[in-house]
């Protein structure tokens, strides 16, 4: 135990004293923010919206009043039919339409359940998600204000994104960045740090000592596991507070799945370290063999459905594909473990495979 601890401390020393490693670790959040910055349109003010109020009762009037008095929205027009919605968007000025159904107040009072539909132009997805978030929160606040302790009123907001049903961009972006960064830190940095020991000759000294191979591996893995977790949490915070992409599902499940993927990446990193002799080679293989597939074949940037069949098949062995899928389902769609079980099992399988390969390949001698 004491041995492992001093090993881990040594690894942290390496990390904190190497300028390049620190640059990647510290630069990562900054790069994230810049990347997110592209995806995020800054605060939206005075956006033109239209309202189709089919109830015109006390509740809808109050909500509309609150919306119009906020600085975010300018109510441009009132609509009177379904067809009007399309027309309002087509003219290009209106960014969002709020639809109140008939008998809104009655539904709310008697069925404790009323639905507001928010339709946004998702071709500019960032603006769209910002606006729907603002509107939702105004409605939620209204609901909270009228909430009677005993009666569970529920106003549901039904968000519909027009023109971009797949919700590319921000919503897609967060899971992709999570996959990419975990892969980068866990796989590339671990492989490089193990290969560095070979290059510097320290591995030779470690070999001629009572230390066992698994000890070397575990001590390499722990610091990067910790750092990856810190990064995951920072991405989630950034995504919730800077990007307005909330964690809809279970946070614990999301973090648990992330730890699984971190372990997958670490095992990949160790495997890479067993087949390379120089830090450069390890970095190159990590880049070409892991980063590129993660960017290109995981569905991060290019939807998998649109790929040629060959690439679709290949994409199945890209671990990030499964992880990104899981994050999308848990974080964005708010689904539970049942929905991601298949992905989780596949990811676990891939992880086991690489752990076994790396343990088998980890040599007790030079060469």
């Amino acid at each position: 135990m004491k041995r492992l601890l001093s090993f881990v401390i040594k690894e942290f020393h390496h990390i904190f004293r190497d300028r390049r490693t620190m640059l990647i670790l510290l630069g990562m959040p900054i790069v994230q923010i810049i990347l997110f910055g592209f995806a995020v349109t800054n605060e939206v003010n005075n956006a033109s919206i239209a309202i189709w109020d089919q109830s015109k009762d006390e509740a809808t009037t109050q909500i509309i009043q609150r919306i119009s008095s906020s600085k975010y929205f300018d109510i441009e027009q009132s609509l009177h039919s379904k067809e009007g919605i399309e027309g309002a968007f087509k003219k290009g000025k209106v960014k969002m339409v709020i639809v109140f159904p008939q008998r809104f107040r009655e539904s709310l009072l008697h069925e404790h359940n009323a639905e507001v539909q928010l339709i946004a132009d998702a071709s500019d997805l960032n603006t769209a998600s910002t606006l729907t978030n603002y509107a939702s929160s105004i409605i939620m606040r209204y609901q909270a204000d009228i909430l009677d302790a005993d009666i569970p009123y529920q106003v549901k907001t039904n968000i519909k994104m027009l023109y971009n049903p797949n919700l590319e961009s921000a919503y897609n972006f967060v899971p992709g960045v999570m996959g990419l960064i975990l892969m980068l830190i866990s796989a590339m940095m671990t492989s490089v740090s193990i290969v560095r020991e070979k290059e510097m000759g320290t591995m030779e000294v470690l070999l001629v000592s009572p230390v066992k191979a698994y000890m070397v591996i575990i001590s390499k893995v722990i610091p990067y596991l910790v750092l990856s977790l810190v990064n995951i949490i920072s991405i989630i915070l950034l995504s919730v507070y800077a990007l307005g992409v909330p964690v809809t599902g279970n946070l614990v499940l999301l973090i648990g799945e992330s730890i699984l993927f971190i372990i997958t990446s670490l095992s990949l990193g160790i495997t890479i370290s067993t087949v390379t002799k120089s830090q450069q080679a390890a970095m190159l293989i990590s880049m070409m063999g892991l980063m590129l597939p993660t960017i290109l074949l995981s569905g991060f940037i290019f939807p998998i459905e649109n790929m040629p069949v060959v690439l679709q098949v290949i994409s199945n062995i890209v671990p990030a594909k499964w992880y990104i899928d899981i994050v999308r389902m848990v974080m964005i769609k708010g689904l539970g473990f049942g929905a991601v079980m298949k992905d989780t099992i596949i990811l676990t399988g891939i992880t086991m495979l690489f752990i076994i390969i790396s343990l088998l390949r980890f040599k007790t001698r030079l060469e």
Partner: protein, 311 residues
């Protein structure tokens, strides 16, 4: 039981040269033994196979054929046990350059399940010299200091046998002498020490030496014995034009061998009794301030003669 026993060890490498694979023999049927507590030197020029031999004995490299054991333990079968008890200092500086002197030492103490305190006696003499730099990163130490630190780290678990692969290469002459003093002190602790070097003058520091060249062991003996076996006449020659002198010496048929040695050339003449003739020949060639004197061979002369014979 011997500290080390090597029987018919052969090791070859495949080297890629311009896309062609070439077989290089690093060790060719090597055999020798090292006694308990002995200070044993492996002396040989670059590429002689010293590092390969050390790696095989420290179990990190497998030989193609032959058998070797360390303290009676087989280097292939019992490699785990050997790793627990030997101290190894590789030829290349192999400590963590980004850790401080203290951190390196503590780290290696812990991985060997011991503490610096427990075995401080053993490294005390060396460590006092390092103490002023204990907060300095190992990478920022001078060559000599680096080697002292590496020696400390290899000693920290009180090994019963120590392998030092070219510990003095690239170290300044003063530090080299320092280093050898330390090695000799360690010998008093009953630790068998195998040390390799390419500096022939260091052979005298060892109790026993094996001379190795191109993977072949030429001789295994004590330095005194090797020197005493030198059976040819030997002259030291000097003049004011050393460059021309070597040329003239080699042009003379009565000279078997002439090679630089310090401020002199060492010359092996065909006939010990014809020194006067040689002197006259050189004077006639116009050499001024000429000095020609018969000398006793030292260990390096013996090595040079042995290596010439092997070539």
């Amino acid at each position: 039981m011997n500290a080390v026993s090597v029987e018919h060890i052969t090791k070859t490498y495949l080297q890629k040269e311009q896309k062609k694979e070439k077989k290089v023999t690093a060790l060719d049927d090597v055999s020798f033994t090292v006694d308990k507590g002995e200070l044993f030197g492996i002396i040989g020029p670059d590429g002689a196979g010293k590092t390969s031999l050390f790696r095989i004995l420290t179990t990190v490299l497998l030989a193609d054929s032959g058998k070797a054991s360390v303290e009676g333990l087989d280097v292939v079968k019992d490699y785990r046990k050997i790793r627990d008890r030997v101290g190894y200092m590789p030829g290349k500086f192999s400590l963590y350059q980004d850790l401080t002197v203290e951190e390196n030492l503590n780290f290696f103490a812990t991985i060997f399940n011991t503490t610096v305190k427990k075995n401080y006696e053993l490294i005390k003499d060396i460590y006092v010299q390092l103490e002023p730099f204990k907060k300095r990163r190992a990478g920022a130490l001078s060559g000599g200091m680096k080697q002292k630190l590496a020696l400390c780290c290899a000693l920290i678990h009180k090994p019963s046998i120590l392998f030092l692969d070219e510990p003095t290469t690239g170290v300044d002459p003063v530090s080299r002498r320092d280093f050898w003093d330390m090695i000799k002190k360690l010998k008093e602790q009953d630790i068998a020490i195998l040390v390799s070097t390419a500096y022939m003058d260091e052979a005298n520091m060892c109790e026993k030496i094996a001379l190795i060249q191109k993977g072949n062991i030429l001789t295994v003996s004590s330095p005194e014995k090797i020197t005493s076996e030198f059976d040819q006449p030997l002259l030291a020659v000097r003049s004011d034009d050393m460059y021309q002198l070597l040329y003239d010496l080699r042009a003379n048929k009565a000279v078997k061998e002439a090679y630089p040695f310090g401020a002199y050339y060492h010359v092996i003449p065909e006939d010990a009794n014809k020194t006067k003739e040689l002197e006259a020949y050189l004077q006639q060639k116009g050499q001024k301030d000429l000095e020609v004197k018969p000398i006793k061979a030292n260990i390096e002369d013996s090595f040079i003669a042995l290596m010439k014979k092997n070539d």
